[in-house]
Amino acid sequence: MEGRPLPESELVERAKRGDQGAYGQLVQAYQGIAFRTAYLVVGDAAEAEDAAQEGFVKAYYALRRFRSGAPFRPWVLQIVANEARNRRRSAGRRAGLAVRTAAQTPSGEAAPSPEASLLSSEQQRVLLDAVNNLREEDRLVISCRYFLELSEAETAEVLGWRLGTVKSRLSRALERLRTEIGEEAYV
């Protein structure tokens, strides 16, 4: 037995052949971002947990549709995001996102990145309020692109939109945010 981890493509191929252990390793690798994706959509921990779990189960049974060699992450995130969006629709109003307080910041957290000084906490609150107030599709595209830090192509796959649609909605959403922040700043 060798202990070297298998490459993702090999895990996917094994999972396709029914190897649930290999699939478990894929779940392990992506459960963090999957849960985060679901949480950004539904805004509720329990719902997000259910959506992510259900998404992984559905993805397993849909593996035959997965094109070998394609990146697994956006593919599985799309299924999780769909699951979360369905729950969100039936759940009604979604809770807004919040910023961690100092007490919640894990002690092992990396040093603040260069952009940490970009916004004061007040500006951060204003920006988050503006994001929370965006219409659903704008908020989704902002969440995928910046909060999940997905590429535009990944964002397109996860949301099931064309790349051109992602680009135009992104630019529209940024414009709305600029308008809102600008106005807020001068109130």
Binding site: G18, Q20, G21, Y23, G24, Q25, V27, Q28, Q31, G32, A34, F35, R36, Y39, L40, A45, A48, E49, A52, Q53, F56, V57, K58, Y60, Y61, A62, R64, R65, L97, A98, V99, R100, T101, Q104, S113, E115, A116, L118, L119, Q123, Q124, L127, L128, V131, I142, S143, Y146, F147, L148, E149, L174, L177, R178, I181
Partner: protein
């Protein structure tokens, strides 16, 4: 990236997202648990997928036969259908996602007659069906009769109105026998033997092909505006006898 975009990335890293729950063991437990629960009794979708896959197998095999190509192809244009691999029909547990595929809803014969835009015919030689399904696609509807128990269906009979649509042709595996037959003066084919390669359109309109093994033999034929299909563990003579009993 603009300042605003950088600010958003930074904001994202500061978001109060609860700790990730340990999903892997639970997902694995769900998967390990699944085949046992996925019997035809408790999972009607499993039945539907098996039936639909069986139908597609036969249709795909028929694609290699120029005479009836046009009659079958519109059926492949079913929207919203994704066919998954089925190792063996019809009793092996299906470990695939059935959510996007269904043969329709369970209906009574009267209901099927009301909803289909054609005169529904019944193979009297098979006796009373144990379940009837109707679905809206292809246009005009498709009616399916299932005979036997859910765990061990004896036969499946399906009817739909066929229309012409052009598409690529797929080949049949070498060991598959496709025998032309004549039923009431109309063309038909009896399919038996080795696994068939079949082709279909998935829900994205993408053309795909897969290999499936057929548990039973299949008779496909035309009657009036309809294309009829019978699958059962029967030989050619028995199949023809049932076909002649269609009223």
């Amino acid at each position: 990236m603009s300042d605003l975009e950088l600010a958003l990335v930074h904001l994202g890293r500061q978001l109060d997202v609860p700790a990730t729950p340990e999903l892997a063991p639970r997902v694995r437990a769900r998967l390990a648990d699944a085949p046992a629960r996925r019997s035809w009794v408790s999972r009607p979708r499993g039945l539907a997928v098996a039936l639909a896959a069986a139908l597609i197998v036969a249709v795909g095999a028929l694609l290699a036969v120029p005479g009836t190509r046009a009659a079958i192809l519109e059926f492949f244009h079913l929207r919203g259908v994704t066919i998954q691999r089925v190792d063996e029909l019809p009793t092996v547990p299906l470990q695939r996602d059935f959510n996007e595929l269904f043969l329709g809803e369970k209906v009574s014969l009267d209901e099927a007659r009301q909803r289909a835009d054609f005169d529904v015919v019944v193979p009297e030689g098979l006796g009373d069906p144990d379940a009837i399904y109707f679905q809206d696609n292809p246009p005009g509807g498709m009616v399916s009769f299932v005979y036997g128990t859910p765990q061990r269906p004896r036969a499946l009979f399906t009817e739909f109105r066929a229309t012409v649509k052009d598409v690529a042709v797929k080949k049949v595996a070498a060991g598959t026998h496709v025998a032309p037959v004549e039923i009431d003066g109309r063309q038909g084919y009896f399919l038996s033997g080795e696994p068939h390669e079949f082709a279909y359109f998935d829900r994205n309109g993408e053309f795909r092909q897969e290999i499936v093994r057929l548990a039973g033999n299949t008779l496909l034929w035309e009657r009036g505006p309809l294309t009829l299909r019978l699958e059962a563990d029967i030989n050619r003579e028995e199949a023809l006898e049932i076909a002649h009993s269609v009223r």
